[in-house]
């Protein structure tokens, strides 16, 4: 008798009543410097409720830095990040998490010695309200809270299809499963805004399709907004509502996937200037020379 509940019944805290037109998060003129390097240089964007917003750009463009600014790991020098109308800059990471921002990391940041179950329960940390003494006694309120949240976590385990790994220490699991667990842990926090940092990095085609399916399911069942950083252009163009392109910390394009794909600035950032590098004739000459040397050497 396993009751499969829709995610919206399990995670009730993910929706928020916002006046029409008010974004869930609004970033303006964000500026982050490391010494003389401008990692983020005056970037601004807003994400609406239920939107899937993608950030793309070459390596070192500042994509993950934006995530680190939002979740409070970095403190930007200028600009503002308003989440549900409240400023996030200068806020401690755990308080930002408490307000409803959760995150999946680029390089898996799971707690390797804990089981899958405990990792997901850790995502529920802020939803379990009992104190240390209640924890030591483990009766009444504390036990009820643990059991009710276990139920929620089990629903997520069902959703992600990781039942058989439930009691395994996460450190032992294969990469693709770890990514799923990380998505589960982020979801367990019942976020209003979910930050996905390269959710399909290093995955094969099947794993990428699975992850895309999870993201689509989350979209259809929950009201949360998502910001996704990803290098897999196929995934970004298929899933995202809007795409922002960064290059060297600056925003060079923002709009629908179709718009961004045709933007000459974006093409230049990804493929380089037309006249830089060797011309086609020069490349052909090089190739011929190489072929000639290969014939000579036995």
């Amino acid at each position: 008798m396993v009751h499969v509940r829709p995610l919206s019944d399990t995670l009730t805290g993910t929706s928020v009543d916002l006046p029409a037109g008010q974004p869930i998060i609004e970033v303006t003129d964000l500026e982050l410097r490391f010494g003389g390097t401008r990692a983020i240089d005056g970037v601004g964007f807003a994400v609406a409720q239920r939107e899937l917003f993608a950030i793309i750009g070459p390596n070192g463009a500042g994509k993950t830095s934006i995530f680190n600014c939002i979740s409070g790991v970095y403190r930007p020098q200028a600009g503002s990040i308003r989440f549900l109308g409240e400023e996030l800059i200068g806020q401690r990471p755990d308080l930002t998490a408490d307000r409803g921002v959760s995150r999946m990391f680029q390089n898996i940041e799971l707690f390797d010695n804990l089981t899958v179950l405990d990792n997901l329960m850790l995502g529920r940390h802020q939803h379990l309200h009992y104190g240390p003494v209640a924890g030591m006694l483990y009766r009444g309120k504390a036990q009820r809270a643990e059991l009710a949240n276990r139920r929620i976590v089990e629903d997520l385990i069902d959703f992600l299809g990781i039942e058989k790994f439930r009691k395994f220490p996460v450190g032992m699991l294969p990469y693709g499963v770890k990514k799923r667990v990380e998505l589960g842990r982020a979801l367990a926090m019942e976020p209003k805004l979910l930050l996905l940092d390269e959710p399909v990095a290093g995955m094969n085609v099947e794993e990428t399709e699975d992850m895309a399916r999870f993201i689509l399911d989350i979209r259809s069942e929950l009201d949360l907004a998502m910001i996704m950083v990803e290098h897999d252009m196929g995934l970004v163009m298929d899933l995202a509502d809007r795409v922002m392109v960064l290059d060297f910390g600056r925003r060079i394009s923002l709009g629908s996937p179709e718009h961004v794909q045709r933007d000459p600035e974006v093409i230049r950032a990804y493929l380089g200037e037309g006249d830089s590098g060797p011309s086609l004739e020069e490349q052909a000459a090089d190739a011929e020379a190489l072929a000639a040397t290969e014939e000579v050497t036995p």
Partner: protein, 387 residues
């Protein structure tokens, strides 16, 4: 489905269905229990029964030694909370033990010409012996939470030296170096727990009476610690230990979690220190030095990091090893006695073995004796297959 979702998946399975399936659970409560398999329940009950029976048969000497095991286990559990679970290396454990011992001695000890004592009941001095170190832990924690790894080890090391100096100078409480003072009297409502008493019609020596008290206390505190470890706080400890930045992003407040670990660890250490002082008999400031801290690090390293049962196994090992070596030396020709004859003296051998075992465990089995037990258990579970 409406309302509170059920945490029961199916009606309890029949006895026949459950036979041979120790991990068949039909509700989350049974799955999350401390003793979640019949084997664990059976062996724990058996060990408790043996533990209750021992003081009625063993010699006074050995009973006292086992009491020391329980006291070391309480202290070891405390250190395991902060170092094993929360990953904050502490060399300052001896300081908190000493603080607990002197708090107890002041509140529960007899006054004399040189030292103060209030002669209060154990029910007052024992909790206070935990609370005072816990409070000091609370004061130290914000400092300690700012540093990690090697720096934290040095910081807590400083605590031991400062403490030793403090204990030497506060003569009205501690009696001063070399002199010391009598410990607290373990008296509950006029009933002395460290004196000859008659229990169930059997006249017991004081060692056996105190043994039973420490045994019960150890079980109680171990259960409290184990509960904490499986609660949200225990998970937060592990998260801070494994990846502190990710833990913070997941909503775990770093400072509060580390502080809690230090406070609880100091509480356990204080209780252990107070009990230890009763067993030692006369305590001097030199009792609470770095070597004692290292003893407790050995307890958790040899027993098993981040396990409660490991702390108990480690305590047994560390306390019983010297006695075991002494006993064995009678049968090995080249080991001399205390007199100094022979190739190596018993005391030298004890020190060498102790150090070698710590090194060996760190290199070969970082999970300690508990990890070895897990390996043996898994081997027999899978037997005759190797996987």
């Amino acid at each position: 489905m409406t309302g509170q979702p059920s945490t029961t998946l199916a009606p309890k399975a029949s006895r026949a269905t459950r036979r041979g399936r120790p991990e068949l659970y039909t509700d989350y409560r049974a799955d999350q229990a401390i003793w979640n398999t019949p084997a664990k329940r059976f062996w724990t009950a058996a060990l408790v029964l043996v533990g209750l029976y021992l003081p009625f048969t063993l010699s006074r000497d050995l009973t006292g030694l086992l009491t020391l095991v329980f006291i070391y286990a309480i202290g070891g559990i405390g250190l395991n909370l902060v170092t094993g679970y929360a990953g904050q290396v502490s060399l300052g454990h001896a300081f908190f033990l000493g603080l607990g011992a002197y708090t107890a001695a002041f509140l529960g000890g007899e006054p004399s010409g040189t030292v103060r004592g209030l002669e209060l009941d154990l029910l007052i001095w024992l909790p206070m012996a935990g609370i005072v170190p816990a409070f000091v832990g609370l004061l130290v924690a914000p400092l300690a939470a700012r540093v990690r790894g090697l720096y934290l080890a040095i910081l807590t090391l400083g605590l031991v030296f400062m403490g030793e100096h403090l204990f030497k100078e506060a003569r009205t409480f501690t009696g001063g170096p070399g002199v010391g003072r009598a410990p607290a009297e373990p008296v509950v409502f006029g009933y002395n727990l460290y004196a000859r008493q008659t229990i169930l019609g059997v006249e017991l020596p004081r060692e056996s009476v105190f043994y039973l008290f420490c045994f019960a206390l150890m079980i109680g505190m171990a259960i409290l610690a184990r509960n904490l470890a499986r609660s949200r706080w225990g998970r937060a400890f592990a998260a801070v230990r494994d990846r502190d930045i990710a833990a913070e992003v997941m909503g775990v407040p770093l400072l509060r979690t580390k502080t809690l670990a230090f406070v609880l660890s100091s509480f356990f250490a204080g209780i252990a220190g107070a009990l230890l002082s009763v067993v030692i008999g006369r305590i001097t400031p030199e009792n609470w030095n770095l070597l004692l801290s290292i003893d407790f690090l050995a307890v958790i390293l040899i027993g098993g990091i981040a396990t409660i049962s490991g702390s108990l196994i480690g305590a047994a090992f560390v306390v019983l090893l010297p006695r075991g070596v002494e006993w064995a030396s009678g049968y090995v020709p080249f080991i001399g006695g205390a007199g100094g004859s022979g190739f190596i003296s018993v005391f030298q051998l004890q020190g060498i073995l102790f150090g070698a075992l710590i090194v060996l465990f760190i290199v070969v089995e970082p999970r300690g004796l508990f990890g070895m037990w897990l390996r043996i258990r898994n081997y027999w579970k899978a037997w005759p297959f190797s996987y």
